[in-house]
């Protein structure tokens, strides 16, 4: 009997501990979400107030945008080509090979263009932002900026946030075009589909709104990459290990948010 009571008490304690852990983790997540939203509010506030650090913005546009072109081109080209190849295999079974162009252009504009570009930019530029700002935080360079009467949010975060948002728009546009060109190359030159039918089907079934939906997603994903990369970097603690954690965290959270927001944006922009 005594043994049974001890077992029940132990089980009760186990349940309490589990609930406490769950509560603490939930509280930490809610606090984190709140902190990110406050950070977003501050970023937006400083985005529209003087002084504007144009030189920093241009530098970030080069680093986030121009330097991401090769990786975005490779991803988009490969995706467009594979999409054409796979669609052809499936569509051939019921004689709809001529619709490859439609599938490629609709997928690239509405979905794959923004999402894949977002994931690539998050992996490349988001990680770089978190690592750079994280290093600046642990080496007290961000504090040094404040002591030199310069607002670090304005000087460091705003240029990265704006550049990330704008450059995602242009990189996604480029990704869409290259993906469609890749699909055309495979569909027409490799698989022998009629070029006129391919182009007509691509144009007839792709509307301007499809392109805009994709580009709206790109803008949102760009803002997410900039926000999370800067937030994680800005709040780095604990030396080199902390920088590593922030960098990993920035990439993982940005990618997850891109995938989650993609569904909601798709549902909203149906």
């Amino acid at each position: 009997m005594r043994c049974f009571v001890a077992l029940v008490l132990e089980f009760q304690e186990f349940i309490y501990n589990q609930l406490e852990t769950l509560g603490r983790k939930t509280s930490a997540i809610v606090t984190q979400i709140g902190a990110v939203l406050v950070f977003l509010g501050q970023t937006l506030r400083w985005t529209f107030s003087r002084p504007f650090y144009l030189k920093n913005l241009l530098k970030q546009m080069e680093q986030i945008g121009f330097n991401s072109v090769p990786v975005v081109l490779t991803t988009a080209l490969s995706t467009g080509m594979v999409l054409a190849l796979q669609s052809y295999t499936g569509f051939k079974r019921f004689g709809a090979e001529t619709l490859i162009g439609t599938v490629v252009s609709l997928s690239m504009t509405r979905e794959l263009g923004p999402v894949l570009t977002g994931l690539m930019v998050a992996g490349r530029a988001g990680a770089a932002m978190a690592a750079e700002l994280g290093t600046m935080r642990v080496t007290e360079q961000i504090d040094a900026l404040s002591t030199l009467a310069t607002n670090p949010m304005k000087y460091l975060v705003v240029p990265r946030f704006v550049a990330s948002t704008l450059m995602m728009f242009f990189l996604t546009t480029l990704g869409m075009i290259i993906g469609i060109v890749g699909g055309y190359f495979v569909g027409v030159k490799v698989l022998g589909t009629n070029p006129v039918t391919y182009i007509n089907n691509s144009i007839d079934y792709t509307e301007v709104t499809d392109i805009w939906y994709g580009l709206i997603k790109a803008l949102v994903f760009g803002a997410v990459i900039g926000l999370i990369g800067c937030y994680k970097g800005f709040h780095t603690e604990g030396g080199a290990e902390g920088v590593g954690k922030s960098t990993t965290g920035a990439v993982v959270i940005s990618c997850m948010l891109i995938l989650i927001l993609d569904y909601f944006l798709s549902a909203l922009l149906w």
Partner: protein, 250 residues
């Protein structure tokens, strides 16, 4: 009226009560050094003086302005009177040496790059550096970085200079050269200085007055001579660097 007046400041981080009612004042042109062991709250105290941290309770008044009650614009205007030398120099590693030194001038004045570079060169020569203007911080030694950090701190003709562990991580000769430089700058520029350190050699050399911070409170203040002859067992143990006594190693 003191240049810096810290009155009953308390600061906690979570459950850690770091400052427990610190009171300290620094007169205009005076050089005060706060000594204390690692984790005693020295850096936290220094960050309160320049508004990087704000007290949970108590007041910090700098040049007649209470830091708690000024807005962001006012705080930035006040910060223009400060120069700060960080422990690791905290140079911006994406900028050249002269861009680092002239950073404030670039941000807050309408001077041309040519003029800023000339001023940076002059400030660098004041700290004993020549022909390093176009180098990147990564190309400098630890001692040179500290000197560049010092040149950056005095670039805007600061009225108050804060030193965060100015000699930590340097060899004894370079450390003494930095001490000489701090004394020399004070003589030439007549600035008010607050330093934090646990290097007693440095504290004796650069200070008019030394204050000991222990467990979040100032437990003793005095001139270097008074501190050397203190009867307080905690201060005595700290300045002699003895492992036995009321202070236990963490």
């Amino acid at each position: 009226m003191p240049m810096i007046d810290i009155i009953g400041v308390h600061k906690s981080f979570g459950n850690l009560h770091v400052l427990r009612g610190v009171t300290l004042s620094v007169d205009k042109g005076e050089s005060v050094t706060v000594i204390g062991g690692s984790g005693s709250g020295k850096s936290v105290l220094l960050k309160h003086i320049i508004g990087l941290l704000f007290p949970d309770k108590g007041r910090v008044i700098v040049d007649g302005q209470e830091l708690n009650s000024i807005n962001e614009y006012g705080l930035n205007e006040l910060r223009k009177k400060f120069g700060m030398l960080f422990q690791g120099a905290a140079l911006f590693d994406s900028l050249t040496v002269w861009e680092n030194v002239g950073f404030s001038l670039k941000q807050h004045t309408k001077l041309s790059d040519r003029e800023i570079k000339d001023i940076a060169t002059e400030k660098l020569s004041l700290v004993g550096l020549k022909d390093v203007e176009d180098k990147m911080p990564a190309d400098l030694s630890g001692g040179m970085k500290k000197r560049v950090g010092l040149a950056r701190a005095i670039a805007m003709n600061a009225a108050i200079i804060l030193y965060d562990e100015p000699t930590t991580g340097l060899d004894p000769i370079t450390a003494d050269a930095i001490n000489d430089l701090i004394v020399d700058l004070r003589k030439k520029l007549g600035v008010t200085s607050v330093a934090i350190t646990h290097d007693m050699h440095s504290a004796y050399k650069i200070s008019d007055r030394i204050a000991m911070l222990y467990k979040g409170e100032i437990i003793e203040t005095g001139t270097p001579a008074q501190i050397k002859n203190t009867t307080n067992p905690i201060v005595r143990q700290f300045i002699t660097g003895s492992a036995t006594g009321p202070i236990t190693a963490e």
